[in-house]
């Protein structure tokens, strides 16, 4: 798998999206899926920037590869143990007043991936996302 290691700061978002976008294109992911990939990656990476390292700075590592006709992205951090998939989905049927601000990120992660899993290994949070090719 190809790897990108960046500091977990918002300024690195563009590099993360450029890296995963190029790899996805090379793997043959169609343009519509590439947009969904960008949305999901933004959520996952921004989460790490915001919450993983409350005591200071840290890093994130992004791995890209292919497996069984899927483009696979893993995103690692060494922050506090946190399973983003444990968050509830927002109620997307509510109107402006009732609708909570937030919670959409996790909805995107679930909705736009074909498979997603969380694991904790060697003090790392690992989010593994599969995007089907064709």
């Amino acid at each position: 798998m190809k790897k990108l290691r960046v500091e977990a700061v918002l300024d690195a978002l563009e590099r993360v999206l450029a890296f995963t976008g190029e790899e996805a294109e090379a793997a043959g992911l169609d343009p519509g899926k590439c947009i969904k990939l960008a949305l999901v990656l933004e959520e996952a990476f921004v989460n790490i920037c915001s919450y993983a390292y409350p005591e200071g700075s840290g890093f994130a590592e992004i791995f890209c590869g292919t497996e069984d006709r899927c483009f696979v992205v893993e995103i690692h951090d060494e922050g506090e143990a946190f399973n983003v998939l444990s968050l509830p989905d927002p109620d997307t049927s509510l109107g402006i007043e009732e609708r909570e601000i937030g919670g959409l990120g996790i909805h995107f992660i679930r909705q736009f991936t074909d498979k997603v899993a969380y694991g904790r290994e060697n003090n790392r949070n690992i989010l593994t996302m599969h995007f089907g090719i064709h």
Partner: protein, 110 residues
């Protein structure tokens, strides 16, 4: 990301160009807050918006909520392509009134 605005028939037409993501959402929010202090009727023109992430939807919802609190109104025009897809999958497509053009949105405001 760039925001331009003009006023027509008492309505602010706010055109957004580029991307509203985690990096640019704060700039969008502060730009809108400034307009919200003086105005109550808004059309968001997304014809030149290339990309929106949940961070962008969050600030749009926040501004819509504060507008609603003072009996204002916000509708959208020219929400197409990827941006439209993001709106639909998040349920935002149903929250907001969408028009195919600024003219139609202006007519709908009356």
């Amino acid at each position: 990301m760039e925001i331009t605005s003009r006023k027509e028939n008492n309505t602010m037409i706010v055109s957004v160009q580029g991307r509203i993501d985690a990096v640019t959402a704060p700039a969008y929010e502060s730009g809108m807050k400034e307009l919200l202090e003086k105005e109550t009727l808004f059309i968001l023109d997304f014809e030149k918006l290339e990309y929106i992430s949940s961070a962008g939807l969050r600030v749009i919802l926040a501004t819509a909520k504060s507008l609603k609190a003072k009996s204002g109104k916000m509708v959208m025009a020219n929400v197409t392509g990827t941006v439209r897809e993001v709106f639909d999958i998040s349920g935002f497509g149903a929250i907001f009134t969408m028009y195919d053009s600024i003219e139609a949105a202006l007519a709908g405001m009356e």
